[in-house]
């Protein structure tokens, strides 16, 4: 909202510069977002919070300046004029439901001379960004900006029978509003009608049919209090935003409604030589709000300050509150009518703190009593992230909302039911993602397009799937690898193309780091590998097929993916560590290098070695593999490293040799290996 320095000066003597005034307003909660010099005046643009409709006016801001600077506000109380013209029938007002409209007043002003507004008035409106129309319309706008209450002027002669009905629109009723739009109305909309038809959408915009024009001679000036919720709904539904609706939605008050009507009449008489010819109002008297009990000790208990009772009285009085002192340090406080936001003592504490000044309140540190039982799983997730980073992966954060098409293209099987967004702004926000992988694949494609040789990324975030009652939301880990990682060694560069085994390695490291044992990778064919922990399916790894790669525009590169249900995985974490004493006797390592048919899985082979090697065999691991020139087609070369150890002695060649040889024979017999 905009106010000007000179206009404010109509209400009080400001002795400080516009710049320091802006500073003071900002520090009182009226944030001045810009201050510009224009037309010999200064225009302040102020962000008014939604709880303070009373600040949406020059008077409201002036009132605040008065409290902050201690300058007295000039009295604003125009008098009701004596009606001189006689023999004129009064306007009839009928309000269908007082809940919709708690107050309605109409003034009849006759013999107005429609014309342009005087220059000073035009200029003031223009500084606030309001276009001048004619003197009557300008005056209603002027009063709106000055006092904060919206008014509407009808051409009285265009109203049927000079009767005003405040009612809900009937189904199918139409109105053409001042912006020349024909609008279909319904029972959810409050209208101002004559005997015949709606003449205005209450609180939002007037109708074209009774618009004040150059031909207008007599006017009916409306000042009313409408139900904010009703105005808000109509505004949202019709998309009709106006200065008037903005204020009604936030709440106007009876006193200002009356004041504004009178002030506008005064200006119309002065500037358009109108004659006041009657006033009628209908409405319920506002129930007086109860006084609020306020204790000085409470104020200081909330603020951590030492504000005295007299200071509290001074601040609240400056803000137009009525105070009745009770026993020492306690008050009964009554808020002025325009302060509908004040409902309880805490609201008064804010007022006191605000005017006393937040900078004056000391800084202290609270004694915090930590409750360790309620800590979430962020620490363990952090540990997970750090482990993945240590393994060379980059964390990505992708959108939780995705489009269906990306999901389809990425070749990830969606759950039975997706969670759809009711009001997406674009197709990219259609559904809540059921998997992290589409986003990660998009991230890979994005980076490959930007000349990256490889990308290895992960994300830890929630995924969603539809289910009865409420959607299922759970934490997931997604990993995506693509391309060839260049690895520099002493011998030079090696290009290491990501394959499923890289991902297996990463997951194994991760599981070991978190004390997860008994995990298992089982191939399902077509590049799909299930990952289980303690026989419970926990996730999968996937070597993305060509069809999906083509659909995603990824060429000549393999994409390796994994998605792990983190909630399942975290339930298996075991961080209880136990120390095993370091072996006292040396181990003996014997490698077996051999060739084996490449369709024989190594899992069974290793298991057989381990069974045979008991109890001296400590471990058997594949430490090298080779396929190439020296290996016949259909075979692969493997090196298994067997580590033997006893806890009570150094092993001798004589006890080792027979065991190791028996393992070699076993492999030859059962797996058909050929030693190299």
């Amino acid at each position: 909202m905009k106010v000007t320095y000179n206009w404010l000066k109509d209400f009080l003597n400001i002795k400080i510069s516009p710049k320091s005034l802006a500073e003071k307003l900002t520090m009182a909660g009226l944030e001045v977002v810009s201050l510009e010099e224009a037309g010999g005046d200064f225009v302040f643009e102020i962000e008014i919070t939604s709880n303070r409709p009373d600040w949406l006016s020059i008077l409201g801001v002036a009132r605040e300046i008065s409290a902050v600077t201690g300058t007295k506000l000039k009295a604003v109380n125009p008098k009701e004029p004596k009606i001189k013209v006689k023999g004129i029938k009064p306007v009839n007002i009928s309000v269908q439901d007082k809940k919709d409209c708690s107050f309605y007043s109409a003034r009849v002003i006759r013999d107005v001379k429609i014309g342009p507004s005087p220059q000073w008035l035009k200029e003031r409106l223009e500084l606030l960004g309001c276009r001048s129309v004619n003197n009557i319309v300008d005056i209603t706008n002027y009063v709106l900006f000055e006092l904060g209450h919206p008014l509407h002027a009808f051409d009285l002669d265009l109203l049927n029978q000079e009767t005003i009905v405040v009612r809900r629109a009937k189904p199918g009723e139409k109105i053409t509003t001042l912006d020349d739009q024909q609008r279909l109305l319904g029972p959810e909309t409050l209208v101002i009608a004559d005997n015949e038809k709606p003449q205005a959408i209450a609180g939002i915009m007037g109708g074209k049919a009774s618009e004040v024009t150059a031909r207008t001679r007599n006017i009916l000036l409306e000042s009313a209090v409408f139900n904010p919720v009703l105005i808000r709904r109509t505004r949202q539904k019709s998309g009709l935003q106006s200065e008037s609706a903005y204020r009604f939605e936030r709440g106007v008050n009876l006193e200002t409604a009356k004041l504004a009507s009178l002030a506008a009449q005064g200006l119309i008489c002065k500037l358009a030589s109108g004659k006041p010819c009657g006033y009628k109002s209908i409405g319920i008297a506002r129930s007086t709000d109860p006084s609020i009990k306020l204790e000085t000790a409470y104020v200081n208990r909330i603020l951590g300050s030492t504000i005295s009772a007299p200071k509290i009285r001074q601040i609240l009085k400056a803000l137009d509150f009525c105070l009745k002192a009770q026993r020492k340090g306690a008050f009964l406080v009554k808020a002025p009518g325009f302060r509908q936001d004040i409902k309880s003592a805490i609201d008064l504490v804010e007022e006191i703190g605000r005017i006393y000044g937040y900078p004056e309140i000391p800084q202290t540190l609270p004694a915090i009593k930590p409750n360790l039982n309620i800590c979430g799983q962020r620490d363990i997730v952090s540990r997970l992230k750090n482990a993945l980073v240590g393994l060379g992966l980059q964390e990505a954060i992708t959108y939780s909302l995705i489009d269906r098409e990306l999901l389809a293209r990425s070749g990830i099987k969606p759950p039975a039911q997706l969670v759809e967004i009711l009001n997406p702004l674009s197709r990219e926000q259609e559904v809540l993602r059921p998997s992290l992988l589409p986003g990660l694949i998009r991230c890979l494609a994005y980076n490959l397009d930007r000349q990256q040789e490889y990308a290895s990324v992960f994300e830890i975030a929630n995924v969603f799937s539809g289910s009865a009652g409420s959607p299922e939301e759970r934490l997931s880990l997604g990993i995506a690898l693509c391309g060839s990682r260049p690895i520099l060694t002493k011998q030079g560069l090696v290009r290491d193309e990501f394959i499923l085994l890289h991902l297996k390695g990463i997951l194994e490291r991760l599981f070991n780091n978190l004390g997860i044992r008994e995990y298992d990778f089982s191939s399902q064919g077509s590049g799909l590998v299930n990952v289980a922990i303690k026989q419970q399916e926990t996730g999968f790894m996937l070597d993305l097929n060509k069809q999906s790669l083509d659909a995603l525009g990824i060429k000549n590169k393999r994409v390796i993916l994994a998605e792990i249900n983190l909630e399942k995985m975290l339930s298996h974490i075991n961080l209880d560590k136990k120390f095993f004493s370091i072996p006292r006797y040396p181990a003996v390592t014997r490698d077996i290098s051999f060739i084996i048919k490449d369709d024989i899985p190594v899992q069974g082979l290793l298991a057989a070695i381990e069974a045979k090697g008991l109890p001296l065999l400590h471990s058997a691991k594949i430490v090298d593999y080779y396929q190439g020139k020296q290996i016949p087609p259909g075979f692969r070369g493997l090196t298994v490293s067997c580590v033997y150890r006893a806890n009570d002695r150094t092993l001798t060649e004589s006890e080792l040799a027979p065991l190791h040889n028996s393992i070699c024979s076993l492999l030859e017999e059962r797996f058909g290996i050929k030693l190299r």
């Binding site: 520090m27 962020r378 980073v389 992966l393 930007r450 969603f464 959607p471």
Partner: protein
């Protein structure tokens, strides 16, 4: 023959052996097939029967002593050979190391902020992103049909009436307070969603950190002290901070918190809009209505709450000018953090 004398002689020779070649010559001389030890051993049968045992033991002792000494000497000499080789390395060549990734800058900022608050005694708690209208709005004293809701445009779910994507992390306040009794000191990082048109400073998804402290006798001054410590930890000791009155439905009194502009140090520049101040968070004393909603006695308990946008903090701290960069996941962006 005096074995001890021989040993002393050999030790002297060893000390003078300054190269592997010299050491090898000594090994041949003493331990070789025709060396001194072999000679001594061969001489044993020529001795008188009663002398053989003692002499044999002495020779064996000498032999094992020499083996140790030679091994030690060899280790020393080859060690210095390695030194020579290392000197031949062109240290201008690239270093060899496994790749190290990094966590996302948003995660880094969240970790940093959570770290500051956990050191003060706060716990980190997270909450679901799909929320109820009640936790997101009504429980936080935001009436459904009130202009104060305009600040929180919200994504709703299609097949689940009354469910939405949380538009702020504050619903976790309601959840935590319903689940636990005071005292509570909690920080809540997480994703939030608002249907905002996307531009350089707006996205439909971003991150917030919420913090709140509830106990008997928590005061606005405590809020000031806590946040001041926080701002100095994140932005530096010299930073100035100011609390401006503001309005949030769930706090009263409420404040917006500014820090002196970290670019121009408060003089006024394009980043701070010539104001010299940067708004970084919203805060206030938890509204008694929020306490009533969760069944806390507002006469007994008071508390403060604060919330901030992580992307904004990260943009200020790192000098990032477009919020979209965070979720494009360009490796050339991510690698910088």
């Amino acid at each position: 023959m005096d074995i001890k004398l021989i040993q002393a002689q050999i030790e002297t020779d060893l000390a003078n052996a300054i190269s592997p070649q010299l050491l090898e010559e000594l090994r041949v001389k003493y331990l070789g097939r025709k060396g001194l030890i072999a000679e001594l051993t061969a001489s044993i049968p020529t001795l008188a029967a009663q002398e053989r045992g003692a002499f044999g033991r002495e020779v064996n002792g000498l032999k094992s002593k020499l083996l140790t000494l030679f091994a030690e000497k060899e280790k020393n000499l080859t060690g210095s050979i390695q030194g020579e080789i290392n000197n031949n390395i062109d240290i201008g060549m690239p270093g060899i190391a496994p790749t190290l990734g990094s966590v996302h800058p948003i995660t880094q900022i969240i970790d940093e902020i959570c770290g500051i608050f956990t050191r003060m005694g706060f716990c980190v708690v997270e909450g679901p992103e799909v929320e109820t209208e009640n936790n997101n709005f009504t429980g936080l004293n935001i009436p459904l049909e009130h202009p104060s809701r305009d600040a929180f445009d919200t994504f709703y779910l299609k097949d689940y009436p009354k469910l939405l994507l949380r538009s702020h992390t504050s619903p976790v306040q309601v959840r935590a307070m319903k689940a636990h009794k005071p005292p509570l000191a909690i920080v809540v990082p997480g994703r939030v969603y608002r249907p905002d048109a996307v531009d350089a400073s707006h996205l439909f998804m971003f991150h917030q950190i919420e913090g709140f402290l509830v106990d008997e006798n928590i005061r606005f001054s405590d809020l000031k002290g806590t946040l001041s410590l926080f701002a100095k930890s994140v932005f530096g000791r010299d930073i100035k901070m100011r609390f401006r009155p503001h309005f949030f439905p769930f706090t009263e009194p409420s404040a917006e918190v500014d820090i002196s502009c970290i670019i121009c140090k408060g003089k006024g520049c394009s980043v701070c809009g010539r104001k010299g101040w940067l708004e970084i968070l919203g805060a206030g004393m938890i509204h008694p209505n929020v306490f009533k909603h969760v069944g806390y006695d507002p006469e007994k308990y008071t508390g403060f709450a604060f919330g901030m946008g992580i992307e904004r903090i990260a943009m200020l701290k790192y000098g990032i000018n477009d919020i979209r960069l965070f979720f494009e996941n360009d490796l050339r962006f991510l690698n910088q953090f």
